[in-house]
Symmetry: C3
Amino acid sequence: MAASAAERGSKAWSDIAQKNAVAGFVDTLLRGTGQVMFQNNPLTGLLFLIGIFYNSRLLGVAALIGLVSSTATAMILRVDQLLIRAGLFGFNGILVGIGLAFFLEFAPYLIVYMVVGAAVSTVVMAALANLLGPWDMPALTAPFVLTTWILLFALYQLEVIRPTELIAPAIPDPAAQIQTLLRPLPEGTAGGGLSVVNLAHAFFRGIGEVMFEDNLVTGLIFLVAILINSRIAAAMAAMGSAVGAVVALLLGADGSFTYHGLYGFNPVLCAIAICGTFFVATWKSALYALLAVATGTVAFASISVLLAPIGMPALTAPFVLVTWLFLLPKAAFAVLRPVALADVTSPENIRKRFLGARSERPQSA
Amino acid sequence: MAASAAERGSKAWSDIAQKNAVAGFVDTLLRGTGQVMFQNNPLTGLLFLIGIFYNSRLLGVAALIGLVSSTATAMILRVDQLLIRAGLFGFNGILVGIGLAFFLEFAPYLIVYMVVGAAVSTVVMAALANLLGPWDMPALTAPFVLTTWILLFALYQLEVIRPTELIAPAIPDPAAQIQTLLRPLPEGTAGGGLSVVNLAHAFFRGIGEVMFEDNLVTGLIFLVAILINSRIAAAMAAMGSAVGAVVALLLGADGSFTYHGLYGFNPVLCAIAICGTFFVATWKSALYALLAVATGTVAFASISVLLAPIGMPALTAPFVLVTWLFLLPKAAFAVLRPVALADVTSPENIRKRFLGARSERPQSA
Amino acid sequence: MAASAAERGSKAWSDIAQKNAVAGFVDTLLRGTGQVMFQNNPLTGLLFLIGIFYNSRLLGVAALIGLVSSTATAMILRVDQLLIRAGLFGFNGILVGIGLAFFLEFAPYLIVYMVVGAAVSTVVMAALANLLGPWDMPALTAPFVLTTWILLFALYQLEVIRPTELIAPAIPDPAAQIQTLLRPLPEGTAGGGLSVVNLAHAFFRGIGEVMFEDNLVTGLIFLVAILINSRIAAAMAAMGSAVGAVVALLLGADGSFTYHGLYGFNPVLCAIAICGTFFVATWKSALYALLAVATGTVAFASISVLLAPIGMPALTAPFVLVTWLFLLPKAAFAVLRPVALADVTSPENIRKRFLGARSERPQSA
């Protein structure tokens, strides 16, 4: 019944968004927010925003600045209206906004940096869409990663862009001891170990960190937001965060990093993308996503190491790299069923369409 | 009248170059030089060479070695004659020659390194031309960047290749103070500040540095050389250097770097490429080029930081990266009009052809 | 006569491999081993394995683990049977296995890391095959390089993955003296200099190091293994290792590195790929391969420097980069004759087919 009420509400909102220009713009922004995790659903996007503001008003405002700037830039440059309305020019901008607010000291001129940066992410999105066209491959969050890297790396050369203490360049040390105890803070003495509470933090923060939200409750809100749109996507998000944390613990990754969800957010995105969105959700694609999740967990460590000498964050580059590698084989793996970009809807609809069509013929009833 | 005399002279030279093989080869070399800034014009190329020799005979000789080697290699490998004649296998070679002479201690065997390096740049040019073919995208100076990086990075492992003191590897320091005062030398006490003289240095050296010429007069000669072929390209070169310097000053970049034009040369190339050469010159593409110029300025800082741990120069990689990203959207931005590679001539001719054709139909007569 | 006996043996084995599933799987594994150096020949593969085991049982077992895992993964994912049978899903897996055993301290769980890593290399192989499809370009050992880099870089962040002392991160020093004397050990006092023995070590180890085998006899076995399948490929392997060592000595590379074949293994692969496999073997393509070999030698130094701050090995990335750049021009160089991927067999067969067909027409007996 609740679902049915939600559906009616969703239908009513769609009608309003169709007719009213302001509502249409708000709808575009909300879908852009939902698209960060492949959910083309304004209610999911709204809950994402609520989750961000619950954790930090600063990050919430930064998110809105980036979201509006990248979307407005796409309108000014007159991109295909349908693509804009699906939120495809919002999800990179929102991440640029939050990412800059997360890694840089706040200052009023940072707003200008965010606005311009999010605008550039729209150019990069259109560039990558064209570049990947021949393979019918999605740009994922590569525009966010590329744009934010350009904007962040520069800070050592620019006096007015000041980093937070999260930026700490260093040559890696092969003999360094890694603190593998799962716990809140590297130097903290209390609360260590594999407790249920600590594991819950790792799990939910892993989902929250997709948008830089290091907060258990925000992670929970994000998971509910995905669930509203797709049970399969929510299950995959949960699998990604859980398996990412387990793989990190098994390989002896830093316990504090795992606690704060840093080994979770890339796997979350890998799992949603691979099982359900760009391959039809089946048990086989779920196992394939599991392999991608394990690879994405290791790739987070790798890309972090690669950027360590300049002290820069991996962002969602591990997700982009691993998901591209796992999607590119397409039809070469006969056990998997790739979905054309034009056919991407919710995992449930995709499943119905592909597997329904397949089962109709042999079983025909 | 002067222009008309120049046109007649240009016509006479073309006739000679068509008939005489030696003159044809010289014409090819001069066009190759002009192509460094997208000017397929032998007189522009000649003035570029004069500008280089005005600043440094060593760099001038290195330029000629690289230019002849890459062009001759294209002939030996029997590349399409029309492409060679347009200078497309000269502009990367000339930059390889100057780049190696600029960053490496001179020694006789360096000539062999230059000759072979410039020859390799011709292979890389043909490789990238084929790679970018499906998108009808230009290789820009990527062959120069890639080849020179391979040749320079290696120096730490090769005893006979010795760097100048410009190569200084270091881990970046987030807390480092940046000297933002616009002035000639980092340690100099006199001549600092935002004086007209210092700004003129930043502006003209920014154009000169496209070919590693840290010299106000050479920058002026380069600008005149471009102007001879295209007023739009010259205006864009000027805009690129000026805006690059202003953005660098606003963001608090190192004042000495800005003074020496290091924040100018990538934006210069971005601006010429985007407004007039690969998009039809309009007010909209000029504004779009402005965004690219700002991005290219920040990207120079970024790529410099990325290479800081090995102490290597960004070269024109910021230009290549940003221009590729800004050109790739092509027709996805309805406010811009992309130019097919086969249709690239001077910005004025492109404008006439595209906008003339467009206005003929609706307005007719 | 010996050759004829070998041919009859080869025919008999093919028949068995066709009919018997186990023999077919063994044949696939052996061809996968041979494909590391482009030799689709089970006997060559067998000799490669013997060479590896001769040098190190540990590396031999690691090779088999990687080989079986990547091949089995391709079968499980149901890749086109013909591609699997040609060994195309074995050569990256075997290298992942040996590479991990070479750079990481042995521990039982490392076997899991190898198995999963080799499985991922199969995904990356299918991804790159699709990515490179539009240019009809081979993936080469890029799947091995990419997968192994991801798995190795991560070690600084993962307590259970421990490096050997070969992993030593450092900021490069432009003023560092390079020990250019050709000799076994950096600190050794005896055996230095350009002796025939030392040069023989450099030459044969250069071939052995293609599979991380730092052993003169193994290099000799590898060369014989190639010779069994193709005289042209063996000649090119010899040319690559010899020229790589000579270029390294001329440029003043570290003598110990050269002695151990580190400047040889990338050139070996460049030479086999370019002259005979992907371009028809002629004197012109041999000279072209020579230029590629020189470039690949320098590129090994370059990529090693680029990865020095994180202390990571270049693996066969120099070969992949340089060979891609030298193959991509394809038909743009009229002096060379590119071979379509579908037409790749042994260099001798390719030569017969292309040059035979060409000479038939004009000369017609």
